[in-house]
């Protein structure tokens, strides 16, 4: 465990600097599960099996959407109101898991979704709801830029900062704020995904 620098904004006075529990930035125990998930996806695409593609797209997309909404609108605001010590303890347990979970779910959803759309003939311009499909590409594209360009680097930088012998609370505060705001933004965009996907499936 390491101490965060003494001048932590919001830290209760007289209780000493918050401590950072031991944690792994990338949880190694989760890597075989990720590998298995990616291999299963490759097998489904290679076999071009309708049920398997549907499963990966729906399960991956449902979990991706639900997690984004939950983190953006439920966990994020709660996290913002917690004490620094509680925020650190939550982040060191939560963020490493997100580092493995979210890219896996996104890969499942997009790769299986593209293959599924191709198999069902939805990619053709002649498909009656092609416009909705293009709208979904745009929404996913914007979310990808936000998630990969802003959210993921902030997540990783917080974890590295927390690994330092004396983490800087100013850096952690700034990056956590960025993480919470962008999680909320992608959560809001997921509402658009829900509208588009239910429209396509109806």
């Amino acid at each position: 465990m390491v101490d965060v620098a003494d001048a932590v904004p919001g830290a209760p006075p007289g209780l000493g600097p918050p401590v950072v529990p031991e944690f792994q930035i990338v949880p190694l125990r989760g890597l075989p599960i990720v590998a298995a998930a990616v291999i299963a996806l490759i097998v489904a695409i290679a076999g071009n099996w309708l049920w398997a593609l549907d499963f990966f797209h729906v399960v991956g997309g449902g979990m991706w959407t639900a997690i984004d909404l939950f983190v953006g609108f439920i966990v994020g605001p709660i996290l913002g109101r917690l004490s620094v010590q509680a925020r650190i303890e939550f982040s060191t347990r939560f963020m490493p898991k997100m580092l493995l979970l979210m890219p896996t779910l996104v890969t499942w959803t997009l790769a299986a979704g593209w293959q599924l759309a191709g198999k069902l003939g939805n990619l053709n311009a002649g498909y009656g709801r092609h416009g909705w499909l293009v709208a979904s590409y745009i929404v996913v594209g914007v979310m990808a830029v936000i998630a990969i360009g802003v959210l993921e680097p902030a997540n990783l930088a917080v974890l590295f900062e927390l690994k330092k012998p004396r983490p800087n609370p100013e850096i952690i505060g700034r990056l956590m704020k960025r993480f919470i705001y962008t999680a909320g933004l992608t959560g809001a965009m997921q509402v658009a995904t829900l509208v588009i996907m239910t429209r396509l499936a109806t």
Partner: protein
Amino acid sequence: MSTIGTTTRKLPPVAELAVLTIALTVDGGVYMASHLPRHFSLAFPITDVVVCAALVATNVVLLAGIRPFAWRTFFLVGKWALVGYAVISGMLVYVFARDHTPAGPMTVLALMLIIWAVDIPVLLAFTVARYAEP
């Protein structure tokens, strides 16, 4: 360099250029995905790839000029991010190849994914290393 220095230090806009590159590759990818499997003009996606490649090259030059910098941290993060994004990009190339995407669009898509697989690790590595002690 002190810890305070890592928060106040002025650095070149590597992160901003990397995010712009991601946005442009996504833009090109969406354009192509919305036209496939039909035949379409590759003028826009090719321009997109050229601009993105120029941005990545600019970022490499900007990065090389930063002194001092936490290169050990940069390469530690960059190396593993590169492995991760190479797998993701490989998956996407596989899906497009599996769908018999025509050679022209396939080449442009592969180039976009290569840029993507290099640009994102640079962004992740830079974001972490900028706060690390050189």
